[in-house]
């Protein structure tokens, strides 16, 4: 039963991942990638990491839908209808060769490497194990991740915005309410 589940999820993950670069409609592309992630999340759960698996599912749904919004906004012909669905790829052949080589290399490594045996028993609760680790020995990792996330958020907003505070509040920053195209919900 578990083996069958593995095969189903594995094939689903790889096949829908492949479909990402074969489908024309941007909505279908994103949903295909989402299916690949959902299958991967299922596999992570299968490996005993329930928390991380469910988090992968949760995060990827949100991420992919936001991705779909941007994909459709910026892509030509997002619906991929008719003959207008032009090819938007380049050096297909060399890309295929390189990635095939990468697969062979990685696959050979996976099959030929002398993997050690399982060291130590599984923890009583892997979620607690993760929590204790990132709040303990791996605290530095978490702090750095937090800073990176913060920097990414600030950087992304700065890059994406076309209106600065002088546009919103006027040259002397005194204009109230700010000149926003739509009013927000807290009385500004």
């Amino acid at each position: 039963m578990i083996v069958a589940l593995f095969w189903v999820l594995a094939v689903l993950a790889a096949a829908s991942g492949f479909l990402v670069f074969r489908l024309a409609s941007m909505a279908r592309v994103t949903i295909a990638l989402l299916v690949s992630f959902l299958a991967a999340g299922g596999l992570v759960i299968l490996l005993g990491l329930a928390y991380l698996g469910v988090v992968v599912i949760l995060m990827m749904v949100i991420e992919m839908i936001i991705m779909a919004v941007f994909m459709i906004a910026y892509m030509m012909q997002p619906a991929g209808l008719g003959s207008m669905a032009m090819s938007m790829s380049h050096n297909q052949r060399s890309a295929a060769a390189i990635s095939a080589a990468a697969f062979v290399l990685l696959g050979a490594g996976a099959l030929l490497a002398p993997w050690p045996h399982r060291a130590g028993p599984a923890p009583g609760n892997p979620t607690f194990q993760l929590g204790k680790t990132i709040m303990g020995p791996q605290m530095l990792t978490m702090i750095i991740l937090g800073l990176v996330l913060l920097a990414a958020m600030v950087g992304a907003v700065v890059l994406a915005l076309n209106r600065g505070r002088y546009d919103r509040f006027g040259d002397d920053l005194k204009q109230r309410p700010p000149a926003d195209p739509a009013r927000g919900g807290i009385g500004r």
Partner: protein, 325 residues
């Protein structure tokens, strides 16, 4: 195959037989029917109509009507995505309900039930957006996008509200969240989290004040192009989501099946019905809250509010004897 047994137990352990999984959608649908019937009665009363047995049975008649209805076909629709999105909504509701304990019986007592519930509810993001997209209609598409906008507003406060309950119990396991409320319900000392959670229940089932994605101004939004069985899927999905949300409020904030005299499952049912009654009663009493207004409120007021709530919960847990691992 060296699968350590205890890992699977943590994941799948149920104190119900495996076939009970099949009961989850049935029980959920039963509660949803009750809610929809109550809603119909309230609608009829507000309009000044007569209250008859037919009004109460209207949800059943509606199912019959939609089952015989013809499916709508629109030009250049994306049928595969459209239909799968529609089916995904009730499926997500049923999957989310798997971790809800009914009395002392749970179909899945997985160790991460709270996160599971959240993840299954988030599936509606993809499902509703795709349902809006697939129909290839302006109003339907705008409705689908509205759900994403609404999701960006409600999701983070909801997550933080769930974190409050989990932190209070020091566990992501729903059964342990219930156990942790043996003395005081979480609703009592986490009122902000409870209120945010209830608002989010409306939001993810896009009913009541959060029916923005299916608003009247959009002639039904994501529902605008749906007829027959397709419409049944999404309409049922909304009510099932509302019911699942109400059902989950009971173990998270209202002490689960705990209560005097009556058996636990009766208490679970009574509390679920009470939450549903409040949700159904209040749903017509507020205007639609548009995402362009709610997003700012959620990010500027509700997220800090729930963070403070989580902080308070953590401090209480620490002072009450610290973390037991």
């Amino acid at each position: 195959m060296n699968w350590p047994r205890q890992e699977w137990e943590r994941l799948m352990v149920a104190n119900a037989p495996p076939w009970a999984v099949l009961l989850v959608p049935v029980i959920l649908a039963g509660f949803a029917f009750a809610a929809a019937a109550a809603d119909g009665i309230l609608t009829a009363r507000a309009a000044g109509g007569r209250l008859t047995g037919a009004v109460a049975a209207a949800p059943l008649a509606e199912v019959a009507r939609l089952l015989t209805g013809q499916r709508r076909v629109t030009p250049a629709e994306d049928r595969v995505l459209w239909r799968s999105g529609l089916i995904a909504v009730p499926v997500a509701a049923a999957l989310a309900a798997v971790v809800i304990p009914f009395g002392s019986v749970t179909v899945s007592r997985m160790s991460v039930g709270v996160v599971w519930f959240n993840a299954m509810e988030v599936l509606t993001w993809a499902a509703v957006w795709v349902a809006g997209w697939g129909a290839n209609g302006t109003l339907s598409l705008v409705g689908g996008y509205r759900f994403v906008a609404q999701g960006l507003a409600y999701q983070l406060p909801l997550m933080l509200a769930l974190i409050c309950a989990a932190a209070g119990a020091q566990s992501l396991n729903v059964a342990q969240v219930v156990t942790a409320q043996a003395h005081v319900w979480f609703a009592v000392w986490m009122p902000a989290a409870f209120a945010v959670y209830l608002a989010a229940v409306y939001a993810f089932s896009f009913l009541g004040p959060f029916s923005y994605p299916a608003g009247r101004d959009l002639a039904g939004g994501v529902m605008a192009e749906l007829s027959g069985p397709d419409r049944l899927m999404l309409q049922a999905g909304r009510w099932l989501l509302l019911t699942a949300g109400a059902g989950m409020a009971v173990p998270l904030f209202l002490g689960g099946g705990a209560g005097p005299l009556l058996p636990a499952w009766v208490w679970s049912a009574v509390k679920t019905l009470a939450v549903l009654a409040v949700l159904v009663w209040a749903r017509r009493r507020l205007p639609t809250i548009r995402a362009d207004r709610y997003a700012e409120l959620a990010w500027v007021v509700l997220i800090p509010l729930t963070i403070v709530q989580a902080l308070v919960v953590s401090l209480v847990v620490l002072t009450r004897g610290g973390v037991q691992l």
